[in-house]
């Protein structure tokens, strides 16, 4: 049990490190906008989705009502649909309650760490769940700390603001398993920049990754057919 926990912690610490400055910043802003520390903690517990929480409190501050805030939250977090689909394929058969519990902790960060681990280690449901919940705890605690003591914390210490970007860069490296993955990543990145410049919000994540991944799958299918192998190589 302790061993399992240590493995989860080892996988999740970059996420926790990255969540600290973002959580603190969120807590400070939400506190300044009139949310109590308890409300901040509850939001991090119930919603657990960083960027949508930032957007929600700034919309509330601007006087938006319940429906616009909830609709925006839905759209901003729709990208988890893709991550959950990819994780469902790797989790294999899990019972309904265990699947429901795991789904709660799917974020950009836990998704990235868990897919990398599932790929080349004996990673399983329990370890992946630990990553989700350790990250969740770090998020809740750092947002509440920000709400309670944020004013006394210096900004941008030790480049900690770059922790998540650096983590994503390394996790992307893990995903570049062959030339097709590199191609998909480049296409998706360029599409994402174009959509990000064109549209507000974060729809660019879905709009770029869906066609880029489809192009990769189609190209792999074509290449396999040319080699007269099986129509589609089974992904690991």
């Amino acid at each position: 049990m302790f061993h399992l926990f240590r493995q989860g912690l080892k996988a999740a610490w970059p996420i926790c490190l990255g969540y600290l400055p973002i959580g603190l910043a969120f807590g400070v802003i939400a506190g300044n906008f009139g949310l109590s520390v308890a409300e901040i903690g509850l939001m991090s517990l119930i919603v657990f989705a960083g960027s949508s929480q930032f957007i929600a409190v700034s919309m509330l501050h601007a006087g938006a009502g319940l429906l616009p805030v909830v609709t925006t939250t839905f759209v901003v977090n729709l990208r988890h649909l893709l991550m959950s689909s990819a994780l469902a394929d790797r989790l294999g058969k899990v019972s309904r309650p265990l699947g429901a519990l795991f789904a709660y902790g799917i974020t950009d960060e836990s998704f990235a760490v868990n897919t990398a681990r599932f790929q080349d280690e004996d990673w399983d449901y329990g370890r992946a769940l630990l990553v989700n919940h350790i990250s969740n705890a770090a998020w809740i605690v750092s947002t509440m700390l920000g709400g309670a003591f944020g004013r006394f914390i210096p900004e941008g210490g030790l480049g900690i603001d770059y922790a998540l970007t650096a983590m994503f860069l390394c996790l992307l490296v893990y995903q570049l398993r062959n030339r097709l993955h590199v191609l998909v990543a480049i296409v998706s990145g360029i599409l994402a920049v174009l959509f990000a410049l064109w549209l507000p919000g974060n729809a660019y994540v879905i709009l770029a990754s869906v066609p880029a991944a489809a192009a990769g799958a189609a190209l792999r299918n074509t290449l396999a057919r040319e080699k007269k192998g099986p129509p589609v190589e089974d992904p690991s």
Binding site: P14, S36, V37, A38, E39, L42, M43, I46, V47, L66, V69, T73, N77, L78, H80, L81, L82, M83, A86, L87, D89, L91, V94, A103, Y104, A112, G156, G159, A163, T165, A166, M167, F168, L169, C170, L172, V173, Q175, H181, A185, S188, G189, I190, A192, V193, A196, L197, Y204, V205, A208, S209, V210, A213, A214, G216, A217, V232, D234, P235, S236
Partner: protein
């Protein structure tokens, strides 16, 4: 330590619409035999998503976003990426990225 009822209602609604997209694919897809083309597509999703998350944060800034050819984020990303490629160490990459970003902030 007060929680206003209208805030609680809002949080509950936000929680429901956020949880749905996280849960439905696991509920309906896990343990199922998925068609090969769909599995092939899912296999490329992590690389595509990570790339789509990273690129705009390196070369765009502000709201509305504008293009930036040379940001500190991008300048640090290149050696950080090479370090990750060479070592494949997640912890090392995070520390190197943070250090470089901090150093660029001091000298930049």
């Amino acid at each position: 330590m007060n929680v206003r009822p209208e805030i609680l209602l809002l949080l509950a609604a936000m929680g429901v619409v956020t949880y749905g997209p996280r849960w439905f694919p696991i509920l309906f897809l896990s343990g199922k035999r998925l068609p090969p083309w769909f599995r092939a597509w899912l296999d490329f999703i992590p690389a595509a998503i990570l790339s789509a998350l990273i690129f705009p944060s390196l070369v765009t800034k502000g709201t509305p976003r504008t293009f930036l050819l040379w940001s500190p984020e991008l300048m640090v990303a290149l050696p950080t990426f090479l370090f990750a490629l060479k070592t494949r160490s997640l912890g090392g990459t995070v520390v190197v990225g943070m250090f470089l970003y901090w150093a660029v902030g001091i000298w930049g």
